[in-house]
Amino acid sequence: MKTSERIIPDRLQSPIQRYLKSWETLLLAVAVAIFMANSFASPYFLNAWNLSDATFNFTEKAMIAFAMALLIISGEIDLSVASMIALASTAMGAAVQAGFGTPVLILVGLGTGVICGAFNGILVTRMGLPSIVVTIGTMSLFRGISYIVLGDQAYRGYPSDFTFFGQGYIWWVISFEFVLFLIIAIIYGVILHKTNFGRAIFAIGNNPTGALFSGIRVQRVKFILFLLTGFMSGIAAICLTSRLGSTRPSIAFGWELEIITMVVLGGVNILGGSGSIPGVVIAAFVMGLVTFGLGLLNVPGIVMSIVIGTLLIGVIAMPRIWKMVRSN
């Protein structure tokens, strides 16, 4: 990569200035603008049930995005998350066929996620392989196992109490998934920003060697992050399977790219070392709102992906272009 210059300012900005100039504020402004544009564009947008439905567009992806954010901040990446969902969902489907009830299904889903995460983690931290290649491999491997098991078939017949995770509501329009998303966001926010473990993640992302010499067990932290990502994929698999009520091997296809887009849009440096959970939360809302708003306007999904792609490049390019213009 290129040499990165760190300029240490003579005078620190005031906290208010810093907040106003932060990535999260910019993103929040984008989110508000999209929200307003949507409410003008479609009369159906400002409807509590519609908005509640809209949250399903991003809650499952965002759950994984939090773990992915930590992983990317530490300088690694996991492209196999969507395939882990497929494998966990397949395992749950197989458990249903074997006649197990909801509690076992949940254990199977989470367990599969954790095992897959551990597999990635061992390959990366024990064998020292680059995570991007390892997870491109496991991405094919995990989904491949689903295809071997299922072929062109599907698992159905999930028990009725299992539907709660993806279709249940806690209160009025507030869905179980949305509450889970908020709780997970808070947990990850605390982990990353308020604990030693979180500081260790930033330290590793900025300088792994320096982190090691400061007494941080670099490989162990990275291994735990891979485990966490697998675990979150398990949770997402439970929610998604419950919501769809069936498992096909193509379930959650292409999600890894949307999740990474979410993380990067949230201001996490793809090269590691910086990022925040509030940023990822806002990015999740931005992506959910864009998808939902365009959906209300009958814009096909593939055109939405143009918007998301442009958003991804545009939001990252803007500050850089701005800096270039100002320095000239």
Partner: protein, 348 residues
């Protein structure tokens, strides 16, 4: 007399040592190992199904793998410069759709012009990636993740989601990749010519060497007067041009163009590179490696139905192949040269 005999004897010894060394390097090289694995694979398939090793069938496998070979060469150059290009499959789909629509709108346009348009359009898209990486310094994975969805979306926009079907295309448009020369279709010849050209470019030109230099050590490359960003820009442009060319070949060979042409193919391309021993950290890799990596995947893909294994196994097998390949590569790259200072990562 005695001394000259001794001299002659020494020289002989020296020569044998050199020959042995060269042979050892050749035999233990990653390419040779991969070649051996592919041959063993073909042999195993032949035990179950002897007709697999007929010349015409092997030529068919090569022809089937040609698009992957073309894209893998471009991807290899990009990966050499420490970048990655995830937009190749979308680039292929967009170029394919554009040339198919040109063919429908103006059936009189000769194939040569179509090919030039395809290569040019692909190169422009690649250059767009390259400019974002070079001038705005945005990480390549972010750039190409974005352009991947954008290009794919544009295919939908220009086609309105409609297919361009076989009967709408002209005969000349469809005939080119199938046109046989010396027993091989043009599709295969394109891949062979690309392999030869890029073998020369990578080993005999300053541009080729600069790709290795940029990936091997960007700082040293900068001090040696190589513009790192511009080399990366050219890598992306080459990758885009090859993707554009493949776009025409793909659409004309399968005689259909639609939005999801080659969906997810970018990962096969990266997989071919990884299996071919191209280091994702940049600086290590060869055209031969990319060729063999692509052939490995191509042989597996073509062999599975022949030996009565469900095609659903293919994904898991290529996934395992990637993991095994990267583990083997990491092992063989270790302990090159003398360790002066142990890196802190390995000491814990």
């Amino acid at each position: 007399m005695n001394s000259s005999l001794k001299h002659w004897f020494n020289m002989q010894q020296e020569l044998t040592r050199k020959a042995k060394y060269m042979l050892k390097r050749l035999v233990t090289s990653r390419e040779a190992l991969l070649m051996l694995i592919i041959l063993v694979l073909i042999g195993l398939v032949a035990i179950r199904f002897p007709r697999f090793i007929t010349l015409s069938n092997l030529a068919g496998v090569f022809n089937d793998t040609s698009p992957l070979i073309l894209l893998a060469i471009g991807q290899m150059i990009v990966i050499l410069t420490k970048c990655i290009d995830l937009s190749v499959a979308a680039n292929l789909a967009l170029t394919g759709m554009v040339v198919a629509m040109i063919n429908v709108a103006a059936p009189g346009v000769p194939v040569v012009v179509i090919i030039i348009v395809a290569v040019g359009l692909g190169a422009v898209m690649g250059a767009f990636n390259g400019l974002l990486v070079w001038k705005l310094d945005i990480p390549p994975i972010v750039v190409t993740l974005g352009t991947m969805t954008i290009f794919r979306g544009i295919v939908f926009l220009i086609s309105n989601g409609k297919w361009v079907n076989s009967h709408e295309m002209t005969q000349a448009f469809k005939a080119f990749p199938r046109y046989e020369l010396l027993g091989l279709p043009m599709m295969s010849w394109t891949a062979i010519i690309a392999v030869i050209i890029f073998f020369i470019v990578m080993t005999r030109t300053t541009l080729g060497r600069s790709f290795y230099a940029v990936g091997g050590n960007p700082h040293a490359a900068t001090y040696a007067g190589i513009n790192v960003g511009r080399s990366q820009f050219w890598a992306f442009t080459i990758s885009g041009a090859l993707a554009g060319l493949t776009g025409y070949l793909w659409v004309s060979r399968y005689a259909v163009a639609y939005v999801n042409v080659a969906g997810g193919f970018e990962l096969d391309v990266v997989a071919a590179c990884v299996i071919g021993g191209i280091s994702i950290a940049g600086g290590i890799g060869s055209v031969g490696g990319a060729l063999l990596g692509a052939l490995f995947l191509g042989v597996i893909k073509n062999a599975l139905p022949v030996i009565n294994v469900s095609p659903f196994w293919q994904l898991a097998i290529s996934g395992s192949a990637i993991i095994i390949a990267v583990a083997l590569n990491a092992r063989s790259n270790r302990n090159h040269g003398r360790i002066i200072l142990k890196s802190a990562e390995n000491t814990q």
